[in-house]
C-alpha cells in the first residue's frame, strides 16, 4: 500500500449545496499532507467522509486500504482523529479519558502516552470541560497518538491556539513517530502553520480540489516576477496563461509565474521583456495560495489548475 488515503470522484451534496465535488486524491504513506482552503471550502466535509462520519453521495474513499463506508473498529484502531469540532467527554479528566480508551487499542503504548503527556505538559487534575481549548486539543492529540496510529487526521487543529501551544502540537506531531513515521492529513486554512509541517499540499476551493502536489515542487514552480520598464518604454508583451497577474504600478508589472520550471524559464521572460529590469524571486507558500485563491475566485482556468 503506497497511499494511506485514496479517493475517487468523492462527492457529497447537502440538498442543493455541493460540499465536496468529485475529489480524486492520493495521500502517500508517510507524508504530511496539508489540505488548504478558505473557510467553507469543503475540507471538513471531506475529512468527515474519510472518517465515515457522513456518507458520500457519490464516489469512493479508501483509508488505509479500507472502503470508508465499511470502516469499523479495526480501521479506527489505526487512525488518530483530532478535530476542533469534536466533543470530548467533558466529565472525564485526561487520565480517565486515556484509561477509558486504552482497552479499545491493541497497540496502546503506555510509555509513549506518558512521554507525550509530559511533553505536552498536560495537567491531569481537571475535568476536560474545565480545560482551556488549547489544553483540550492537546488532550485530544494525546489520546490520538498514544496507540501509534498509522494515520493521523487533523481538522483545523490550530484554530484559536496560542503560538506556544501550536508549537508544542507541531513538535509532537513531527518528532514523536520516530522510526515508524505516521501519515498525517491536516486540514487548515492557516498556511503559515502547515508550511513547516507539510511535505505535500492540496488546495480545496468550492468543494473541488484544485491541485495536490509536494510542497517542494509547488514552491519550485511558483515565482514572483517583477518587470520594471525603462523610462519611456512600454510593456506590451501579452501575459501567458500560466502567469497570474498581480497588477501594474507605474512602470512595474508584477505577476506570478506558475510554471517556472527549468533554467530556460527566466531566460524566456527576460527575452520577452528585453531591455526591462526583470526580477524573479521565490514565493512563500502563503503568497502562492493567495495567488491561487485569487485566481480561483476570478474563475480563471490556468495550467496550474489543469495539472490536477
Amino acid at each position: 500500500m503506497t497511499s494511506a488515503i485514496e479517493t475517487e470522484a468523492l462527492t457529497r451534496r447537502f440538498r442543493r449545496q455541493l460540499a465536496v465535488d468529485g475529489i480524486t486524491l492520493e495521500v502517500p504513506c508517510g507524508s504530511v499532507f496539508a489540505l488548504i482552503g478558505p473557510n467553507g471550502a469543503g475540507k471538513t466535509t471531506f475529512i468527515k467522509l474519510l472518517m465515515n462520519l457522513i456518507r458520500p453521495t457519490r464516489g469512493i474513499a479508501r483509508v488505509l486500504g479500507t472502503d470508508t463506508r465499511r470502516m469499523g473498529p479495526a480501521a479506527f484502531a489505526r487512525i488518530g482523529y483530532v478535530s476542533e469540532n469534536q466533543k470530548l467527554p467533558g466529565w472525564m479528566t485526561t487520565s480517565e479519558l486515556l484509561a477509558y480508551l486504552r482497552p479499545f487499542y491493541p497497540t496502546w503504548d503506555d510509555a509513549l502516552c506518558r512521554k507525550v503527556q509530559r511533553d505536552l505538559g498536560l495537567d491531569d487534575g481537571k475535568k476536560l470541560r474545565a480545560l482551556s481549548r488549547g489544553t483540550r486539543m492537546k488532550a485530544a492529540l494525546l489520546a490520538s497518538l498514544a496507540y501509534r496510529p498509522e494515520l493521523i487526521v487533523l481538522d483545523e487543529p490550530f484554530t484559536g491556539l496560542d503560538p506556544l501551544v501550536r508549537e508544542e502540537l507541531i513538535t509532537g506531531l513531527l518528532e514523536l513517530p520516530g522510526e515508524q513515521p505516521w501519515t498525517v492529513l491536516v486540514a487548515s486554512h492557516d498556511i503559515d502553520e502547515v508550511e513547516r509541517l507539510a511535505d505535500w499540499v492540496g488546495f480545496v476551493e468550492g468543494g473541488r480540489l484544485l491541485f495536490a502536489e509536494p510542497v517542494a515542487a509547488l514552491l519550485a514552480r511558483f515565482r514572483l516576477v517583477e518587470i520594471v520598464a525603462d523610462a519611456g518604454a512600454a510593456l506590451t508583451a501579452p501575459l501567458r496563461p500560466s502567469w497570474l497577474p498581480l497588477g501594474t504600478a507605474g512602470r512595474t508589472l508584477r505577476f506570478v509565474d506558475t510554471q517556472h520550471v527549468g533554467t530556460d524559464a527566466a531566460a524566456q521572460i527576460q527575452a520577452l521583456y528585453a531591455g526591462a529590469d526583470v526580477r524573479i524571486t521565490p514565493l512563500p507558500l502563503r503568497e502562492v495560495f493567495v495567488a491561487l485563491a485569487r485566481q480561483a475566485s476570478a474563475g480563471r482556468q490556468s495550467p496550474a489548475v489543469e495539472r490536477i
Binding site: 469499523g72 479506527f76 469540532n85 469534536q86 482497552p103
Partner: protein
C-alpha cells in the same frame, strides 16, 4: 464481553447519582405498595403516606424518562461530533453495554422489587413467575420505546421534543378519529364488531412483543449505521407488521381455558324466554340504543341453568318477518347479566342466595327494576310505519355461563384471614351501626396474561345463617391518584389498573341497608354474632348459542322523531 463491562462501568461512574436515585425510587415505591395497603387496612392515617406514594410514583415516571436517554446519549448516535464515533468502539459492544445497563436498572430492578413484594404477600411461585414475566413484557415495551427515542436524538432536549411531539400527534390522531366518529354517530352501530369469546390476550401479547421487536430493530440499525432515516424506516416497517400480524395470528395460545358444563351442551338444556308484555320499542338512548336507531327491548330470562350458575346474554342477529317481508338486524351486543329461573328480578341474586344458603339477599340502593335486553335494532330512517307490523321475531343469542363459588367464609372479627392460591384476604377491623357495617380488610391477588384460568369477579356478602339473610357489600379501594396516572400512561408505571398483575389494597367493604327499605331489619348483636363475611367469585365460563322466537308480535313502529306529529308524547310502542 470485557469491553461491554468496560463501557458499562464508565456509564455507571458517569451517572451513578441518577441511577442511585432511580433505584431508590423503585425501592421506595415498592415498599409503599406493600406498606400503604396494610396501613389503610389497619385503619391508620395513611393519607400522608398515600400522597407521598403518589408523588414518588410520579417522580419514578419522570425519572424513567430521564435515565434511559442519559445512558444512551452518553454515546450519542446522532451527529458527527461525538468523540467515540472515530474510536474503535465496536457498535455491538456499545449496544450490548447500553442494553444490559438499561435492562438491569430499568427492567430487572423493578421486577425484583415487585417479586419481593409478591413474596412478602405470599404469592405462590408459579403465579409470581407469570406476573414477573408479564411485568417484564410491559417494562420492555416502555423501555423499548424510550430507547428508540433516545437513539434517534442527540440530547435530552431533542428526546423531550420527540416524545412530546409523538404524544401530541397521538392525541391529535385520537381526537380526530373521535371527532369523525361523533360527527357520524347516526351511522355508528350501537353494537360491537363481533361476538364475545373467552378472554384472549394472545393478540395483545403478540402486539407488545412485536412492538418491542420493532424498537429493537430500530435501535440495532441505528447502532450499526447511525443512519436515522434508514433506522426509522426499519422501525416503522416492523411496527406495521406489529399492527397486522396479531390480527392474522391463528393460534390463541393464551386464550382463557373456559369450561362449558356438560348439562349446558344439550341443545334443549338452555332456552330463552321473553316476557311478551314487557316488549317496548324506543328510539331513545339509554336502552342500548343510539341516536338514529330504534331499539326493541324486552324482559328476557334464561331457563335451564343449574344451581351455582348464572347467565349473560348477548344478541348476535335478529329478524322480524311477515308474509315475505323481513326486517333484519346484524347488530351484535356484549353479553349482559339476565335473570335465570333462580332469580326474582336482579340477575344472579337467586344464585347467590342458594349458594349462601339464605332466603333473601339485601341489596343497597333502590329497588331493582326488571332487566330489559335489546332484541332488535333498526335505523329509524328504515323502519316502516306508522301502520302496525305484526310479524314473527327471531333472535340468535350468545348465552355466556357464569360460575359462582364461595371463595371464603370468614368470621366477622379482626384477624380473620383467608389464603388460597394467590388470593389473600385479612380482616383488619369491623365497625357497626344499626344499619351499616364496614369491614376494613387487606386484600391482595395476582394473576398474569399467561395464566389461562378465566378471570373472576369478587363479591362480598355479610351473611347471617341464623337469620337466613345476607347483605351485599361494596368494596372501595384506597387508591386515590393512581387511576388517574394509569389513565395518562398506557400500561402505567407500577399499579396500572390492568386486570392482571399483582395488586394489594386496603379495602373498606361497606354493607349498608337503605333507610326505610326494610323497617324490620337491623344489624343487631344477634345478627352480627352469627354473621360471617363471605367472598364469592363469579367466573365467566363457556358460551352456547340459543334462538329466541316470538310469533304474532304486533308491533307499532314509532315514526322517526323529526316526522312525529306535533304534540305527540308517545316515544314507545306496545306489543
Amino acid at each position: 464481553m470485557k469491553l461491554v463491562g468496560h463501557i458499562m462501568a464508565a456509564d455507571v461512574r458517569r451517572y451513578w447519582p441518577a441511577l442511585a436515585a432511580w433505584l431508590l425510587l423503585v425501592a421506595v415505591t415498592a415498599a409503599q405498595d406493600g406498606v400503604h395497603p396494610r396501613l389503610v387496612a389497619e385503619g391508620g392515617s395513611a393519607l400522608a403516606l398515600g400522597v407521598f406514594a403518589e408523588l414518588s410514583r410520579l417522580a419514578k415516571l419522570l425519572a424513567a424518562f430521564l435515565v434511559v436517554p442519559l445512558i444512551v446519549q452518553t454515546h450519542t448516535l446522532v451527529g458527527t461530533e461525538a468523540y467515540w464515533m472515530t474510536r474503535p468502539i465496536p457498535p455491538r459492544a456499545l449496544l450490548a453495554a447500553k442494553a444490559l445497563l438499561i435492562g438491569l436498572v430499568m427492567i430487572a430492578a423493578p421486577l425484583l422489587a415487585e417479586a419481593a413484594l409478591m413474596v412478602a404477600y405470599g404469592v405462590p411461585f408459579r403465579t409470581l413467575a407469570g406476573v414477573t414475566a408479564e411485568s417484564a413484557l410491559w417494562q420492555s415495551f416502555r423501555v423499548g420505546l424510550l430507547f428508540s427515542a433516545a437513539v434517534l436524538t442527540r440530547n435530552l432536549t431533542g428526546f423531550a421534543l420527540l416524545i412530546g411531539s409523538a404524544l401530541v400527534a397521538g392525541i391529535a390522531l385520537v381526537g380526530t378519529m373521535l371527532a369523525f366518529a361523533l360527527m357520524g354517530s347516526d351511522e355508528v352501530s350501537p353494537g360491537i364488531p363481533r361476538p364475545v369469546g373467552p378472554d384472549d390476550p394472545t393478540g395483545l401479547v403478540m402486539w407488545t412483543l412485536l412492538v418491542i421487536a420493532a424498537a429493537a430493530a430500530l435501535v440495532v440499525s441505528q447502532y450499526r449505521t447511525r443512519w436515522r432515516v434508514r433506522s426509522v424506516l426499519i422501525g416503522a416497517s416492523a411496527l406495521a407488521v406489529a399492527f397486522v400480524l396479531p390480527a392474522l395470528w391463528p393460534w390463541p395460545f393464551l386464550m382463557d381455558g373456559v369450561e362449558l358444563p356438560s348439562w349446558a351442551r344439550a341443545s334443549a338444556a338452555l332456552h330463552l324466554r321473553a316476557d311478551r308484555s314487557s316488549v317496548r320499542l324506543s328510539d331513545e338512548r339509554g336502552m342500548g340504543g343510539r341516536k338514529g336507531w330504534q331499539t326493541l327491548t324486552a324482559a328476557l330470562r334464561v331457563e335451564g341453568v343449574q344451581p351455582g350458575w348464572s347467565a349473560n346474554a348477548g344478541l348476535l342477529e335478529s329478524t322480524i318477518a311477515r308474509d315475505g317481508e323481513r326486517l333484519a338486524s346484524d347488530v351484535i351486543l356484549h353479553p349482559q347479566p339476565i335473570p335465570t329461573e333462580w332469580d326474582d328480578v336482579r340477575p344472579g341474586e337467586g344464585v347467590a342466595a342458594a349458594l349462601l344458603g339464605v332466603e333473601r339477599i339485601i341489596t343497597p340502593g333502590p329497588a331493582a327494576e326488571q332487566v330489559r335486553v335489546p332484541l332488535f335494532f333498526a335505523r329509524t330512517s328504515e323502519v316502516p310505519g306508522p301502520a302496525p307490523f305484526i310479524g314473527t321475531y327471531r333472535g340468535r343469542f350468545q348465552i355466556q355461563l357464569v360460575r359462582h363459588e364461595v371463595e371464603a367464609a370468614l368470621r366477622l372479627r379482626s384477624g380473620a384471614r383467608h389464603a388460597a392460591d394467590s388470593y389473600r384476604l385479612r380482616v383488619a377491623s369491623v365497625e357497626r351501626t344499626r344499619m351499616r357495617v364496614v369491614v376494613t380488610a387487606l386484600e391482595s391477588s395476582a394473576s398474569s396474561v399467561f395464566d389461562r384460568r378465566p378471570s373472576a369477579d369478587t363479591t362480598f356478602y355479610l351473611r347471617s345463617v341464623d337469620a337466613r339473610e345476607a347483605v351485599l357489600g361494596y368494596a372501595s379501594e384506597d387508591m386515590q391518584i393512581s387511576p388517574l396516572l394509569a389513565m395518562l400512561m398506557p400500561f402505567g408505571m407500577g399499579r396500572d389498573g390492568s386486570p392482571t398483575g399483582f395488586a394489594a389494597s386496603g379495602d373498606a367493604i361497606e354493607f349498608a341497608v337503605p333507610e326505610g327499605a326494610d323497617p324490620s331489619f337491623a344489624f343487631t348483636d344477634g345478627w352480627i354474632d352469627g354473621a360471617d363475611l363471605v367472598v364469592v367469585q363469579a367466573t365467566r365460563e363457556g358460551s352456547v348459542e340459543r334462538t329466541l322466537e316470538v310469533t304474532d308480535v304486533p308491533l307499532v313502529w314509532q315514526p322517526p322523531a323529526d316526522a312525529a306529529a306535533p304534540g305527540s308524547a308517545a316515544r314507545s310502542g306496545e306489543l
